[in-house]
Symmetry: C2
Subunit: 207 residues, 2 copies
DNA sequence: ATAATTGCCATACATTTGTATGTTAATTTA
DNA sequence: TAAATTAACATACAAATGTATGGCAATTAT
């Protein structure tokens, strides 16, 4: 059994996980101290020692950023879901987070990426299902054949992207839905980002 | 366009990516020097400068381990597939790597994990399909309801795991396949690991 | 009531780390 | 052929980093 963490220790562990997941590398003591407004690294040092003692992390002595999560993939981090996005017909996107999902450590999320929950089944032949959480990276240029999130008339869609001469095609893989063709200059159209990952909880689902 | 890397520069970049993907954090100059047998960190330093100049990485000055991949999710790393594993009826496992898959950087792979290609469709109601690459972590204890890889009579299977009093149940989610029940003491049965992730190439598939 | 834990700070120190500079040799490019 | 690039080395240095130690107030456990 794990010993309980204090509130501050939990905050620090959360920050640690957030950094590892977001930036990809653990922070230094100085990073953590700066974030929490501590004037001294030794404060963080001692918190880490306490957290390690309780078994949540493992440190490699003398190594910079040498902190590993003991919990590994068992640990889930809450992340806001920014909206719902239609794989079938367009759905309205929400201004604020509508929900939170516990994302496992395994699903490394590049910084600036965000999460959307997929509704609808137009991509079921691409094996993306209603209820799946898609990880969207807004910093990549879409290439032909990639699955993208786009805003079309104030609604968000998840479709496969194809660039033609003067238009853009957004294709569903489910033949029940027809391909959307947009002129490149169409004003209320914007590529939001590229789907770089799909997370689906491994917990039991109704068959 | 990216400038070409020399053979050594490519080796160093490959090692860098391997470390970032495997260990989760970039190596220090000393780490790289040690791995390649260099007596001096400055050698690595200069290689990194060259690699950065050619646009493959970005360095945060003065920061330890402050190396980021410019290529991000565009970069794919070859990983060996160790065998095929049956989601339907058991298949033979191969002693050596049978193939290689280009795994994207997004799919962070915990160390010691390995890849298996799924054959068969007994887990299609859990949305794991024939052809998918599963990332298997051999260091985790299986919990009820998790999807595991197990060896049964010299063949490997991917099934959902349930621990009962004296037996273990390996369930398919596809009603066409029946649940396998094994006594806990059955000699030729072993849990190989837990499926911690699924990778599926986002490239176009036949609909 | 006393001891232990928590939370924060300060100072000090040895390594680690990134960086700068210069040298040498082999190879490639102009 | 001359110049540039590649590849490796050595030395030096400032900053970053982890660590050790001690102090102090507040809270919690015994």
């Amino acid at each position: 059994m794990q010993k309980e963490l204090t509130a501050i220790q939990k905050d620090i562990l959360d920050f640690l996980i957030d950094q590892i997941k977001g930036k990809g590398i653990p922070p230094t003591l100085a990073d953590v101290a700066k974030h929490f407004g501590y004037k001294n690294r030794a404060t963080v040092q001692q918190h880490f020692q306490a957290i390690e003692k309780k078994g949540y992390i493992r440190k490699s002595p003398k190594l910079s950023r040498g902190i590993e999560l003991t919990l590994e993939d068992k640990y889930f981090v809450p992340r806001p879901i920014l909206g719902e996005v239609a794989a079938g017909n367009p759905l309205t996107i929400y201004p604020d987070a509508i929900d939170t999902v516990k994302l496992p450590t395994i699903a490394k999320m590049p910084q600036d990426s965000f999460l959307l929950r997929v509704k609808g089944d137009s991509l079921k032949d691409a094996y993306i299902f209603s209820g799946d959480i898609v990880i969207v990276n807004p910093n990549l240029e879409p290439k032909n054949g990639q699955i993208v999130v786009a805003i079309l008339n104030d609604a968000a869609v998840v479709k496969r992207f194809y660039k033609k001469r003067s238009e853009i095609e957004l294709a569903s893989e489910n033949p029940e839905y027809k391909t959307i063709v947009i002129d490149k200059k169409y004003p209320s159209f914007k590529i939001v980002g590229i789907v770089v990952g799909i997370y689906r909880s491994m917990e039991k689902r109704a068959g």
